[in-house]
C-alpha cells in the first residue's frame, strides 16, 4: 500500500496496538485526515501537540533542527514506539548507544558535521562492555552523561559535559570518587575556576574509558599526567620504575597515581598526602616490603642532569659518561688504526698470519 508519491503507508496493526500509542486513534495524530479518500497533501505529524515539554527541551539543544533530527530518528518507526523501559524501545538503556551510533558512528551523519566518531570508542569502553556484555541497566549510556532531549554542546556552561560540570556528571554514579576528587588539588583548582586542572575525562577520556587497574590503561597512563607535568614525566622516565614499566606485560611498577593517588591528589607538604615524608615508608612499602627510612630517600624524580638538585647523582653520571666516552674513543681510534696497519702489513708481505690456525 503506497501513497501517490510511492511511499509505503502500511501500518503493522499488531505492533501498533502493542506500542505505547496503541490506544490512540489514527486521527489523534493525523488530525488533518477527516475522511476517505484522504487529501493529497497531509501535514506531518507534530509530536509537540502532546509532548510539549520534550519539544521545548529539544528546541535549545544541538538537535534543534527538526528536519535533520525528527523525533523518529531516535524513537524509531512512528507506529512502533515503545516506552523507554520496554526492551523493544530504541531508547531502552541497552539500545541507546546503538541508536545514537547510527549518526555518531564511523560513517554516520555526525561525520558530515565534523564530529568525531565516538560510538566505537564507547562500545569498547568499560561502560560499553558493562552495557553490551553484562546488560547492566545502570551502566552509563550516552544519555546518562549527555541528557536526552536537551543535549548541549560541551562548550555550553549549561551542559553536563561542560568541563566544570564533568566531576558532578560522573559523580552522579561515582559518588565516592567524586568526593575524593573534590578534596584533591585538581578538584580544588577546578572548583576555583582554574580550568587548566584536569577533570575526570582528561585522564580517563570521555568515551574510550578503560578499567584503570587493567594493563592497557596502566601502560598508557603516565603520559596522560605527563601532558601537564612535563618535567616530572621526563625525570620519571629516567628511573627504574619507568624503564621497567614501559615493557609490555609488566605493569606492576609504580605509575604516577600509585604514589600520588589518582583522585585525592595532594601536595607533598600536606600531612595526609601519601608522598608526605611521614607517609613514605607506608607508601613505598606497599610494593617494597621492608622499605626503611633510608630506602625512602630514593628520589623517584631525581634529575641526573641537575647539579644543584642532585649533586651526587650529577657527578656519578658525569664520571660514568666521561669513562664511557674516553674508553670508547681511545679504543675506537686504536682499533681502526690497528686494522688499517695490519691489513697494510698483510698485503705488503703477502703473508696473512691468520687463517691457518685452529
Amino acid at each position: 500500500m503506497t501513497d501517490s508519491a510511492g511511499h509505503s503507508i502500511a501500518v503493522d496493526g499488531k505492533k501498533f496496538g502493542d506500542s505505547i500509542h496503541g490506544s490512540l486513534q489514527c486521527n489523534n495524530c493525523h488530525a488533518d485526515i477527516k475522511g476517505y479518500p484522504h487529501p493529497d497533501k497531509i501535514a506531518p505529524v507534530d509530536c509537540k501537540t502532546c509532548h510539549a515539554d520534550q519539544a521545548d527541551q529539544l528546541k535549545s539543544s544541538v538537535h534543534a533542527d527538526g528536519k535533520e533530527h525528527p523525533c523518529t530518528s531516535c524513537h524509531g518507526n512512528a507506529h512502533e514506539i515503545f516506552a523507554k523501559t520496554d526492551a523493544r524501545s530504541q531508547v531502552y538503556p541497552l539500545n541507546v548507544p546503538k541508536t545514537c551510533g547510527q549518526c555518531h558512528g564511523k560513517d554516520g551523519m555526525a561525520g558530515k558535521h565534523g564530529l568525531a566518531s565516538v560510538y566505537p570508542n564507547y562500545i569498547d569502553s568499560i561502560h560499553g562492555f558493562a552495557l553490551s556484555k553484562e546488560g547492566l541497566l545502570v551502566a552509563a549510556n550516552c544519555q546518562s552523561c549527555h541528557g536526552s532531549h536537551k543535549i548541549l554542546s560541551h562548550t555550553d556552561p549549561q551542559s553536563p559535559t561542560y568541563k566544570a560540570n564533568i566531576p558532578q556528571t560522573c559523580g552522579n554514579c561515582h559518588a565516592k570518587i567524586d568526593a575524593d576528587y573534590e578534596q584533591g588539588i585538581h578538584g580544588k583548582a577546578v572548583a576555583a575556576g582554574k580550568m587548566a586542572a584536569p577533570v575526570c575525562s582528561d585522564c580517563h577520556t570521555a568515551h574510550a574509558i578503560l578499567q584503570p587497574t587493567e594493563s592497557e590503561f596502566r601502560m598508557q597512563s603516565t603520559p596522560i599526567c605527563g601532558n601537564c607535568h612535563k618535567d616530572k614525566f621526563s625525570t620519571y622516565r629516567d628511573t627504574f620504575h619507568s624503564q621497567l614499566g614501559s615493557l609490555g606485560g609488566y605493569v606492576e611498577t609504580a605509575r604516577c597515581w600509585d604514589c600520588h593517588q589518582a583522585h585525592d591528589v595532594r601536595p607533598a607538604s600536606d600531612p595526609s598526602s601519601p608522598i608526605n615524608k611521614a607517609n613514605l615508608i607506608v607508601t613505598c612499602g606497599r610494593c617494597h616490603a621492608g622499605a626503611n627510612k633510608s630506602f625512602v630517600q630514593y628520589q623517584p624524580h631525581a634529575n641526573a642532569r641537575d647539579r644543584k638538585l642532585n649533586p651526587g647523582l650529577y657527578f656519578v653520571r658525569l664520571f660514568m659518561n666521561l669513562l664511557l666516552a674516553s674508553v670508547l674513543t681511545f679504543f675506537m681510534l686504536h682499533t681502526i688504526l690497528w686494522l688499517i696497519r695490519s691489513r697494510y702489513q698483510q698485503i705488503k708481505t703477502k703473508n696473512g698470519n691468520g687463517g691457518k690456525h685452529a
Binding site: Q243, Q297, Y298, M320, H334, W338, G354
Partner: protein, 287 residues
Amino acid sequence: MPELERAKQTETETAAAGGRYFLRFTREQRYMHAALFTSFLGLAATGLPMRFSESFWARKFAAGVGGFGAILFLHKFFAVVLTIAFALHVKEIVQRGLINREKGIFWGPTSMVANWKDVKDVFGHMRWFLGLGPRPQFDRYAYWEKFDYWAVFWGMIVIGFSGYAMWFAPFFAHFLPGWALNAVLVIHSEEALLAVLFIFSIHFVNTHLRPDSFPMDMVIFTGVESEEEFKHKRTLEYERNSQRGELEKKVGIAPPLWLVNFSKIVGFTAIFIGLTLLVLTLTAYFS
C-alpha cells in the same frame, strides 16, 4: 706456564701433519670463557630491552620471551651464573697466588697485572700503527688483553654490586644513603652500556676480526694455537720458553675436526648475537 703444567700429558703428542700446536688455555679457562660469554650475552639480551625500554624492538622482544617479568627473571638468572663464575675465578686466584704461592700470578711476564712494558707497548704499538717504529713484541698477555681482563673484572664488581643493590634495595638501604639508590641505576646502566659497546665492537675486532685472527681466534675454544701463530702473536713468550727449553711442555694436540667445527658454530653464534645487539643498541641510542 704455571697453569699449563697441570695440562693433560696425553696432549703433549705432536701433531703429525700441519706443524705443532701449543697450549694457551686450560680446559677450565675455556669453560670459564664460555660461562662468561654465555651469561654476558644473556645479560645483554635481557638488559638492553630494559635500558631502551621505549625502543621499537624492546617491547617486541619482551613480549616474545613472555613479558617483562620473564626478562627480569632471566636477567637475574644470568647474573647469578656470572656471579658464581666470578667467585670461582677469584677463588682460583687466591688459591694459586696466595695459598699455593704459585709464581707468575701477580707479577712477571705471565701475569695479568700491568707492568712498565705494557705502558711502553701501548706507545710502541701506536707508533707502529702510524709507521713510526717497529711492531712491538708481546708476551703471554698483551696490553689490550690485560685491559679486556681488567675491564671485565672491574665491570663485574661495579655492575654486579649496583645490580644487587637494585635487586635487594631495601636491604642495601640499611647501609647506603638514599641518593645511592638513584645512583646505582645510572652506574649499572652506563657501565653495562660501556661493556656491551666495548665487547661487541672492540673486543670482537681486537681479538677475533682483525686480519691476524680473522674471522675468529679459535684458541679460546680449542685451547691450542699453531706454532706459527704463537711465534707471531706472542714472540717473547715463545722465545723465553724456547731458551729455557720449556717449549716442549706446552705442546698440545691439534684440535680434532669436531671441536673446530663446534667451536666455529658456538663462536660465530656468539659474534652474531653480539653484533645484532650492538646494532640494536646503536639504533636505540641514536634515535
